[in-house]
Symmetry: C2
Subunit: 452 residues, 2 copies
Amino acid sequence: MTIKSVDVVVVGGSAAGVTAAITARRHYPSKSVLLVRKEAQVSIPCGIPYICGTVGTPEKNLIPNAVLEKEQVEILVSEATTIDRERKSVVTAAGEVTYDRLIVATGSHPVTPPIPGVEKEGIFTILKDVEHLRKMQDHLKTAHDIVVVGGGFIGIEFADEIRKMGGKTITIVEIAAHCLSLSYDGEFCVEAEQVIRSSGITILTTSKVTGFTGHGHVTGVQLSNGTILKADAVILGTGSKANAELAKAAGLRIGATGGIDVDRAMRTSDRHIFACGDCAEKVSFFGGGHSTLKLASIATSEARIAGANLFGITRENPGTVGVWSTALGDFALGTAGLTETMAKAWGYDTVTATVEGPNRHPGGMPGGAQTKVKLVFECNSGVLLGGQVQGNSAAGEMINAVSACVQRRMTAEDIAMFQMGTHPALTASPIAYPLVNAAELAIKAIRSRKGS
Amino acid sequence: MTIKSVDVVVVGGSAAGVTAAITARRHYPSKSVLLVRKEAQVSIPCGIPYICGTVGTPEKNLIPNAVLEKEQVEILVSEATTIDRERKSVVTAAGEVTYDRLIVATGSHPVTPPIPGVEKEGIFTILKDVEHLRKMQDHLKTAHDIVVVGGGFIGIEFADEIRKMGGKTITIVEIAAHCLSLSYDGEFCVEAEQVIRSSGITILTTSKVTGFTGHGHVTGVQLSNGTILKADAVILGTGSKANAELAKAAGLRIGATGGIDVDRAMRTSDRHIFACGDCAEKVSFFGGGHSTLKLASIATSEARIAGANLFGITRENPGTVGVWSTALGDFALGTAGLTETMAKAWGYDTVTATVEGPNRHPGGMPGGAQTKVKLVFECNSGVLLGGQVQGNSAAGEMINAVSACVQRRMTAEDIAMFQMGTHPALTASPIAYPLVNAAELAIKAIRSRKGS
């Protein structure tokens, strides 16, 4: 039963799907676009941790349909079960929809680690499903001893938000030496950990979970050193994997890391089908190797490429830079590109420089915060590989200035000559502007390394 | 009497001089650097308006000597009276100092408009001199009816700060149709004016001051329409002109707009003498014509070029982009490059796009503000010419991301594919990130203009 014939079908209603649909309409105003999603309501993915404390309920954290309606994207709420590539159709529970071009944006699944007892009640992965989130939130309200497994950004954001519910004992268990260590160098991780600990949350690093105790319902989390942490709720923030099942079943090629294989134009192995977001295979901006980063901001960038390329290739994916930020109360962190640790691991000869100072001038101006910026350069070329920023909420936009410098492969020399705006009530002084000063210090370090 | 022989002398102790001296030491660690300045204490130029209300006294708004001492720059507090180019020396009240390279960073003077009565007591130009500022501040404390002549950023910042002293009647008189109209398009100026007016300050636009009344002390400000505004204090925020006297007396070439003539390496007509900051002639980043912009951030960018080039040219000035921001309480504005008005006046065929939305996602996240971004593109090339941002304090760094895009001559296509970091507590959503969305809207407008 063909219920509909449209020019463009998008499967998936989260950041990638919505952005791809909007972009398709903007670039091809004469084409009809239908977005198929299984959820009646779609959570804002990055906002999910905030349903616990700050925002209050999953229903206050939704992607509004209005953003689609404004661009005249039609919405079909139904699960896509099959892609029939010969018929160029998507089969849904509500019937079949034929397409001229298809965009697959089916997102990712949380990884459930294969730990004995992980199926017990009271243990939650982070799904984007509103029902699931409401159930989880209800459970957290009555729970007292909460363990968060995984100290990545989802883990620390959840821990901090659960803390705001009040009266809980919260422990983060992280397998690596530091929380956030995939995105920040140690010195930034340590400061973030201090902020988290000072709020009363316990952090156990270099700690592996080996089991969950309890009959039916979880009562404890067992660590490899034998410790058992009391727990009546557990949040698993242990990563996610591409949801490529629909594409795989349709015979689309799957990449080495499990995502849908795409070229730089975001085309799959079928020329009429594009993929973007968490479900798509990614390459790094740095050298073009595999990247397993999954972020809504990456998803939307890819979606803008896929949507624009549907009926004529104009955009090429330069690869994933990896830019994101997080906040713990007034303390904010941002990262763009490679950390020093990551750059070294990838074989780069790095030079770094770190600058710290108030983001006001004079320092007595109100509302400011100590701001730390670290830039990581390739030593021979002087090209910026990445940057990390720590400060107050302005760090969220400052990291985007860093990202622009990374994306344009600016050198330390370029950044030293950067023309920035400064203001006493908003930024550091122009004499001490951290990006520029870090670039100057890196130039000095590069010269001294080269012996000139 | 030669009191000293050093490798590098810098004349001037404000943003350009300090930065040039530091840069010289960083790039030439074996060279001795002496900074000559006439002031015992140097005001942070951009912080001057804030001595009235937020910061409290001129003494809390000083460039600390520590930034120079840290880089082992010697300081000589004495007025430089002559440059003797043959002897390669600077004559000061304290004696003569010989140099191998000289950097002139003598700044600017406020323009005193030739209005009858402008010499009366109670009428103040904005000097960087701490004594003058203290006297002005003391006068403002007892004054009741205050008129600010000039609605540029210095004028509006002073007006807003004087308001914080409490119990004053404040009027801004602006000759143009809008305050801030040299830096913002009308729609941004109007919103800034609303914020100012809602705080109780009166703004009179398209209004020309023709005289000041009073015997000895000012009592009123006369406008061209005959109105006399009651006034016991007047602040003149009517622009500034290069202080090139010392250089001119030494026979250095002076440029068409009155600044010291410099090449792209910041060299004056004497190969051993460099100039930077407000005293130096400027060219625009857009087409290389004259620019009369004077900002501390421009001064420091130029100083980093001059300081690095002293003993070997490695840096070239790409010309002045013009990036700055201002704040009125929680309301902040930033601008980079050309406004639409300015771009059109300069002969560009422009396409613009404006995007407005909350800088949080979901919108219910606390601490956010409605944020408006306008981007101005050249229609045929799609190259970004400038941007304006309005929002809360994060606008101060967001405009620096815009500036990076301008400086790298990014096109609307480039910006549409920008990889930004986003976070619920810090920025707009990745679906609606304003720079990217404005670029997409501009692409659509460019296409529809070209009829494709």
